[in-house]
């Protein structure tokens, strides 16, 4: 059966060139870099680690010692939020976030709420934007941290990060942003955008799973989340996952400018193709300030779960709501926060693209979506004018 993978916002295919770069570190390159005094293979490994750190630091405009390797974005988000909150507890107990964050940010903040921190969750517009004025007004004396995502995992809506960064900078509040889906898709400059902490992960840019980075601006105090050795400038314990880290850097090197243009084209092709052939299709999010990799559509009068299962039978992998959300049948909190009704949220499908998708796959998907939605609408009791 034909297979079309359009769930690249959940995870991407690890590039073969990335795998090739990693394998030697699994099989014959001694890969422990912590020892100060080491035999020659240990030194080689330390050099590979340093080089990978440099690649990633350059990509976001950071200094070497500001790049901390973790086990992924979930750990980076937890470490950033809990680490900053604990370290700045004496300065204040107020945290500002948005109502559409990824669950790892959302739950890390909820765990702090249970410990007595106060939380303001900023609402979003029906396109998914927070208001920078709202943010300004919400900042008070006790505010120690603002955590607002770079772009949304379900709709692709990109926040005005530079303005948010400026506001936080003016008010001397620490600013964390979860950029797991934006890294490698949008140009990020942590200094220009006044970002103090930034979470990114390898597996969303064709790198391996199990590796992430937390950028921590020089001077930002943070309490460790994982205790043990002195690894990662004494900010994150645990033997470095050298093959994974090498793979992450390779994945970063492989990102080219043409790739984004190509993915944008695929997204437009799918959107145009579907809306030309089907009525009552609504775009969730926004046209302009949106990730090239994500397209979220609601097909009125049908259930997202049924669409997914029927598309799956045709070999197409997509999701309804966020990937981590598909376990429950609750409608997506992101779409609800954007003002979608229960029905609209339930009928939503997220398509997400990568450089490995082809125009032919997009055309196949358009046909499949058309067939599936048409059939489901025919049997749906809520379709008008059947």
């Amino acid at each position: 059966m034909k297979r079309v993978y359009l769930d690249n916002a959940a995870t991407t295919l690890c590039d073969k060139r990335v795998v090739d770069a990693m394998i030697p570190f699994y099989t014959d390159k001694y890969a422990v870099a912590s020892s100060q005094f080491s035999h020659s293979p240990g030194i080689e490994s330390k050099e590979a680690l340093d080089k990978a750190r440099e690649t990633i630091a350059n990509k976001i405009g950071a200094k070497l010692e500001e790049v901390i390797f973790t086990s992924g974005a979930t750990e980076s988000n937890n470490m950033a939020i809990k680490g900053v909150a604990q370290a700045n507890r004496t300065k204040g107990n107020h945290i500002i976030t948005s109502s559409v964050e990824h669950r790892s940010v959302r739950e890390a903040i909820e765990s702090l709420e249970k410990e007595g921190f106060r939380v303001t969750k900023l609402p979003v517009s029906n396109e998914g934007f927070i208001s920078v004025d709202d943010l300004k007004e919400s900042i008070r004396k006790e505010t120690i941290l603002v955590s607002i995502q770079y772009a949304n995992q379900e709709t692709g809506t990109i926040q005005d990060i530079a303005s948010i960064g400026s506001v936080c900078n003016e008010k001397s509040v620490i600013f964390h942003t979860d950029a797991a889906l934006s890294f490698g898709r949008l140009p990020i400059d942590v200094k220009k955008e006044h970002i103090d902490l930034l979470s990114i992960t390898a597996h969303l840019i064709h790198g391996p799973k199990g590796v992430g980075v937390l950028y921590i601006r020089d001077g930002i105090e943070i309490v460790k989340c994982m205790y043990g050795g002195f690894n990662e400038f004494n900010k994150r314990a645990g033997t470095e996952n050298i093959p994974g880290i090498v793979g992450f850097a390779k994945a970063v090197e492989l990102i080219g400018p043409e790739e984004i243009k190509y993915i944008k084209k695929l997204k437009k092709r799918l959107y145009d193709g579907i809306t030309k052939r089907l009525d009552a299709v609504q775009l969730n999010g926004t046209q302009k300030e949106s990730l090239p990799t994500i397209l979220n559509l609601t097909f009125r009068f049908v259930e997202g779960e049924s669409v997914i299962l029927h598309l799956d039978m045709k070999g197409i992998a997509v999701i309804t709501g966020s990937a981590c959300f598909s376990r429950s049948l609750e409608p997506s909190y992101v779409l609800k926060a954007m003002g979608l009704s229960h029905e609209e949220a339930h009928g939503s499908i997220r398509f997400s693209f990568s450089r490995f998708n082809t125009e032919e796959e997009i055309d196949y998907t358009i046909d499949a979506v058309y067939d599936v939605v048409k059939k489901l609408r025919e049997i749906s009791p809520i379709t008008p004018n059947k």
Binding site: T74, S104, T201, A237, C324
Partner: protein
């Protein structure tokens, strides 16, 4: 010159059979294992199979007792912080042996800030836990006691069955860090009545960046990494399919080969010990018999471990001078100090850990290199 790798406690090459089995999940392993579509469900199946293989390695009662993590450090942190915080009503006392890995000691020290009381239990000169002291120091409020299965620096195997009885008599939970022991000697968590057990994938020839925590049925933990709710809500984050599948396969192979491989390496180790102890003023560290089959550790008076390491490297032989994680500091190893060595004695240590790539034919080369190294360094030493 042939390369002889003797630092298998720090890093292991991934077994080629493991790589062959799991490589596909690195290359083609697309799909989120938590999603509903069929690629996702296939990923889920891989994870459940791996869980079963890891469960079998330690004879866990059910595969559901295994939670995958990013490595032993995270497993130790989750076991200690997760159990202590969730069972706070039980008490706020923590105990650990004085020779635990820093990823056990440091989370316990950290919990002191939350009002927990933490003490270490001493070991004798061979590294065996002082059982009388353990028994005396435990109270009903002791919520977690952590004792490693075997020590990574001196190879000593702890009497876990007896320790478990003592801990359970007082009603506390026993956490065992089995990073150094798993895959080297048989482990049976049910027979030993272990509540929590830490495993590292790379230490059983699996990929780096993956570990596991065994949690006995009924033991309750608080998540330290909330988010998407993977791994029964205890450990969020997109599952590392390749790492998990690889660790599972490594566990399956280890289970099959443990008896044969430990006998083979045990013979090499015994011979190495006999040969190296012929050197003047050389001593075995750790227990003479209750020790890991692949582990030989020594100290030489009047020389520095770092110089041994660098000198041996010139023979293309890689050895270690203690724990890979602590050799970043210039402090002498806390393990060697705990077994009663003086500072200058602890500095002259050398650890040899054997693995698949080692053979009995390498012994003459190794012993020759060690002898020449020690002689040369002593010739230079002002001591």
């Amino acid at each position: 010159m042939e390369n002889i790798y003797l630092d298998h406690a720090a890093w292991l090459p991934v077994d080629t059979r493991v790589l062959k089995f799991a490589e596909g999940f690195l290359k083609n392993g697309v799909g989120n294992a938590s999603a509903l579509y069929s690629f996702g469900l296939a990923g889920k199946k891989v994870i459940e199979e791996a869980r079963e293989k890891v469960a079998k390695l330690i004879n866990a009662e059910s595969e559901n007792c295994i939670v995958f993590t990013s490595g032993a450090t995270e497993s130790n942190n989750l076991a200690i912080k997760g159990t202590a915080l969730r069972n706070i009503k039980k008490g706020k006392k923590l105990k650990a042996s004085s020779i635990e890995h820093i990823s056990v000691l440091n989370p316990m020290k950290e919990l002191q800030k939350n009002g927990y009381e933490f003490n270490t239990i001493s070991v004798d000169s061979t590294g065996i836990l002082n059982l009388d002291e353990l028994e005396r120091s435990l109270t009903k409020e002791t919520v977690v006691t952590s004792v490693m299965y075997a020590n990574n620096e001196i190879g000593t195997i702890e009497p876990i069955r007896e320790i478990s009885e003592i801990v359970h008599k007082k009603g506390g939970y026993l956490h065992v860090d089995a990073t150094a022991a798993a895959g080297r000697i048989p482990i049976d968590v049910q027979n030993d009545r272990i509540d929590l057990l830490t495993l590292s994938s790379n230490d059983i020839y699996g990929p780096q960046g993956t570990g596991a925590l065994y949690i006995k049925k009924g033991v309750k933990l608080q998540s330290v990494l909330p988010g998407g709710g993977q791994e029964r809500g205890l450990r969020s984050g997109t599952e590392n399919l390749f790492g998990i599948a690889g660790m599972g396969e490594a566990a399956r192979i280890a289970k099959n080969e443990i008896a044969q491989e430990s006998e083979r390496l045990g013979k090499i180790r015994d011979k190495l010990i006999i040969e190296i102890l012929r050197i003047d003023e050389s001593f075995l560290t750790g227990h003479p018999t209750q020790r890991l089959p692949h582990h030989a550790s020594f100290r030489f008076s009047r020389i520095e471990g770092e110089s041994i390491l660098l000198n041996m490297d010139m023979y293309n032989i890689q050895v270690s001078t203690g724990s890979a994680c602590s050799s970043k500091t210039l402090e002498p190893s806390h393990v060697l100090l705990a077994i009663g060595l003086k500072h200058e004695e602890a500095h002259g240590s050398m650890v040899l850990t054997l693995g698949h790539s080692n053979s009995i034919e390498q012994i003459p080369k190794i012993t020759k290199a060690v002898k020449e190294t020690v002689e040369r360094l002593r010739g230079l030493s002002p001591l």
